[in-house]
């Protein structure tokens, strides 16, 4: 039975010149797990909002065609009725939570729709979403992943048949991402919910989804079973969607004639094991080594302790006697789950937080006595959320601000150079907040290096970006290697870690549990498992074929595995 039926839907936003959705027709079967993929701005989110009635009831505009959801015509029903049919979880899910405690928020919608059993429904939804025993907690006690589960629970409590999630894992570490998809799988298989996700991570699509729908310029290009969809490598790439690395590797081998033409492309590591079984591992000597001996340390942490004030009870200890040395010229990736202390470590280095005990030595000087504004010539921090770095009304003013107030000579010239380098010249008069995700990131990087700091700290530079923009930012980061000396990146993005970092620090519960090159980290099964690191898929693929294989990119994989 079809739970969603759309006929010739065309929609344009109020005052828009051309429609954003063009003549869409679609059927979704009950119990499907559908991934919606497509370029930025192709209308994915708009499409999803037509399903729960926000369009056309809350957001008006020109609406033509017919949308049937669970047997109801969305134009004839109101948002309330439709909310009980289709639940929606936003990409910026934390703004969707309106009540202070967990159970309160989960049952809030049920209470508003005057359902007598609102409490029970809230409790039920929480246990379905794996948040049992957190009912009485306040929302700021939850981690990012748990907050997302709560937003989901808020939608589930109305017992809708359909759940729609906009980029559910964009901000989460791999551990939490797996958890979210685990919950969605349960809801799909055990509760029979139809699930629609907007998703860029094709590895997750391959593992969990049943169908994939590709959108382009407001139209549906196709809707196919997942395997078949992910094998259309060229079509996906054209829309800036990157199929799983395993599929890309197989596709390239096929084009080079190294795999038989009739063999279907694998989409998961499991399928890959079969597809690549004929290949032999050839140890390559070209493994990357950090060249040069030990340079002098630029930052040293000596027995640093810091705690956060908590609302109730004892303060929360983040670091307890942390010792760490960072050397000149190192390219360091800082990894670890949400809340492991990555941001705290960076804020300590720029002097935004002061350690309660211990010392931080920067260039031979204790930073305890230095003022933050004097440190910024030496260390610079780029926030995870670029919006918080825009303090002026144009990005040009933002980039030049630090230089201008310090009376740097030819600061205007330098600003122009930076704008050019980060391809922002055209946008220089725009307010940073109104730029696209990738542009905002580039602007924040330009602000970060404006004062030419010796040490650059980046907090999650690729979070919340679609894969194409992520690749672009990764390229920018590689290009920046020659103009920055010491760089530290805190990230969950293992592809970035593998392709960029020379040294990897693994933080777990305020302690450095591993420190070394990527071979030392990813090759160490114990570390990978205790901290819950998810290596890039192609690495797992190599490992599955041969335990000795340590390949981090598709290129390396292609070189390491050859025909027998």
């Amino acid at each position: 039975m079809n739970i969603i039926e759309i006929e010739n839907l065309t929609y344009s936003y109020p005052a828009a010149k051309s429609p954003i959705l063009k003549d869409i027709s679609l059927q979704v079967e009950e119990g499907d797990f559908l991934a919606v993929v497509g370029n930025n701005g192709c209308g994915k989110s708009t499409f999803c909002k037509t399903l729960n009635g926000l369009i056309p009831h809350f957001i008006t505009g020109d609406f033509e065609g017919k949308v049937m959801v669970g047997g109801l015509n969305t134009q004839e029903s109101d948002v309330g009725t439709l909310a009980c049919k289709a639940g929606y979880v936003y990409q910026d899910f934390e703004n969707q939570i309106v009540r202070p405690t967990v159970l309160d928020d989960a049952s809030y919608a049920c209470l508003n729709y005057a359902m007598e059993d609102y409490r029970e429904r809230g409790l039920e939804a929480l246990s379905l979403c794996g948040l049992q025993n957190r009912e009485e907690d306040y929302i700021w006690q939850l981690s990012g992943g748990q907050t997302h589960l709560l937003a989901l629970a808020g939608a589930v409590s109305l017992r809708p048949d359909i759940l729609i999630l906009d980029e559910p894992i964009a901000q989460l570490d791999p551990g939490h991402a797996d958890k979210i998809y685990g919950v969605l799988k349960d809801l799909n298989e055990k509760q029979g919910k139809t699930i629609i996700v907007i998703e860029h991570h094709t590895e997750y699509i391959a593992d969990y989804c049943k169908h994939v729908m590709l959108m382009k310029d407001g139209k549906i290009v196709w809707k196919l079973p997942t395997d078949e969809a992910l094998r259309r490598v060229d079509e996906l790439k054209e829309c800036n969607i990157f199929p799983p690395q395993v599929t890309i590797a197989a596709h390239r081998m096929k084009t080079e004639g190294r795999l038989p033409q009739e063999q279907p492309l694998p989409t998961t590591v499991r399928e890959g094991k079969e597809a690549f079984q004929a290949l032999k591992y050839k140890a390559s000597s070209a493994s990357k080594r950090s060249e040069g001996g030990q340079s002098e340390p630029v930052v040293s942490f000596r027995d640093v302790s810091i705690a956060y004030r908590s609302v109730k009870g004892d303060d929360r200890m983040v670091f307890d006697r942390l010792n760490l040395e960072i050397r000149r010229g190192e390219k360091i990736a800082l990894i670890g789950s949400n809340g492991a202390g990555k941001s705290t470590l960076m804020k300590l280095m720029v002097g935004l937080l002061k350690p309660s005990e211990g010392d931080i030595i920067l260039d031979g000087e204790n930073i305890r006595k230095k003022k933050t504004e004097n440190l910024s010539q030496k260390v610079s921090l780029v926030y995870q959320n670029p919006e918080e770095m825009f303090i002026k009304d144009s990005i040009k003013a933002d980039i030049s601000y630090a230089m201008q107030v310090r009376h740097v000579e030819n600061y205007q010239e330098r600003t122009q150079k930076l704008l050019e380098r980060f391809r922002l010249t055209e946008l220089q008069e725009r307010d940073g907040r109104l730029l696209s995700g990738g542009q905002m990131r580039r602007a924040s990087l330009a602000i970060g290096i404006a004062l030419n700091p010796g040490i650059l700290l980046l907090d999650e530079p690729t979070a919340n970006l679609d894969i194409a923009t992520r690749k672009e930012i990764m390229q920018t980061l590689s290009d920046m290697k020659d103009i920055t000396e010491t760089v530290m990146i805190a990230t969950h993005d293992m592809q970035l870690v593998c392709e960029w970092a020379e040294r990897i620090l693994v933080l777990n519960q305020g302690k450095v549990v591993a420190d070394g090159t990527r071979d030392e980290i990813f090759g160490n099964q114990a570390v990978v498992e205790t901290v819950g690191i998810r290596p890039p898929e192609i690495f797992s693929m190599g490992q599955a074929l041969n335990e000795k294989a340590l390949c981090y990119t598709v290129d390396e994989f292609m070189q390491s595995f050859v025909e027998a």
């Binding site: 969707q96 939570i97 309106v98 508003n112 303090i391 307010d431 602000i447």
Partner: protein, 279 residues
């Protein structure tokens, strides 16, 4: 002396009383004390109680009665475990309102006839303030807004109260980060000399004002989702549905403790009236 005070002031604004500290105090005040005797009371009982101790002292000039009221709210404030910052603000407030007059008049040869009226006024102000503190910070915002709703306050008001507490920590965090941006990139004037310190103080105030612009824009960006989410969650439906109000209020229950609280307060006040009649 003056230089020292100025120095303190200028350092305090951004460094000592950090936004982080304020945020923590706001949260502590709202939710950090939900296990106290006061927080467990029925909000309606507490509001009725507040109506009495918050209003009646204004119309009575009897010292015994005022003293008793003052002691009563002192005890309830203690029981409510109010956050330190709020108490400090209270102390500063009362002192600048009337307290300083009291001390000044004592110093400049005031006698009982001048001190008495001032003492009474101070007591009145202090009692009402402490009573407000007990009720508004002892109760968590949700219970408070439910209580208000029972007395017929519009749903929108009570929602705003609890929603304000929901977004306040978020706003303050955002504000803090923006201020940190200024701190990292800005170049405040040297503040070793006295004039430097005055300049620094002005600089800091200017930064705080400037920081509001990005804060507002970022908040506007966030609230788009919130508004849509509220629509989906049926906020608008609930506002016009009587049944919802009834369900919300059904969680309120008057218990033995509430009656005990009322009885003890009543007895205490009665004793004070008795005392003033006898003496």
């Amino acid at each position: 002396m003056e230089i020292k005070v100025k120095k303190k002031l200028s350092e305090n604004i951004l460094e000592k009383i950090s936004i982080d500290f304020l945020r923590n105090q706001v949260l502590k005040n709202a939710y950090g004390n939900d296990d106290t005797v006061i927080a467990k009371l029925d909000p309606r009982i507490l509001l009725v109680w507040y109506l009495f101790v918050g209003l009646v002292p204004w119309f009575v000039n009897d010292l015994w009665f005022l003293m008793a009221c003052f002691l009563l709210v002192l005890v309830t404030t203690k029981l409510a475990r109010v956050a330190g910052l709020v108490l400090l603000l209270f102390a500063v407030g009362v002192f600048t309102q009337t307290g300083y007059l009291l001390i000044v008049s004592l110093f400049f040869g005031g006698n009982a006839s001048t001190v008495m009226p001032l003492l009474i006024l101070t007591l009145k102000v202090a009692t009402c303030s402490l009573a407000s503190i007990t009720v508004f910070s002892g109760l968590d915002p949700d219970r408070l807004s439910n209580g208000l709703m029972w007395f017929g306050c519009p749903e929108r008001l009570s929602f705003s109260i609890s929603y304000a507490y929901r977004v306040l920590p978020m706003l303050m965090e955002e504000f803090q980060n923006i201020l940190l941006s200024y701190r990292m990139r800005g170049n405040p004037p040297e503040h070793e000399t006295f004039t430097g310190k005055v300049k620094y103080l002005f600089y800091q105030v200017k930064v705080i004002i400037h920081a509001f612009y990005p804060l507002m824009l970022n908040t506007a960006k966030r609230s788009r989702t919130t508004v849509e989410a509220l629509e989906i969650k049926g906020y608008r439906y609930a506002a016009v549905n009587k049944a919802v109000k009834k369900m919300k209020l059904s969680t309120l229950k008057v218990t033995y403790n509430d009656l005990l609280f009322l009885a003890v307060s009543f007895l205490w006040i009665a004793l004070s009236i008795l005392a003033s009649v006898i003496f």
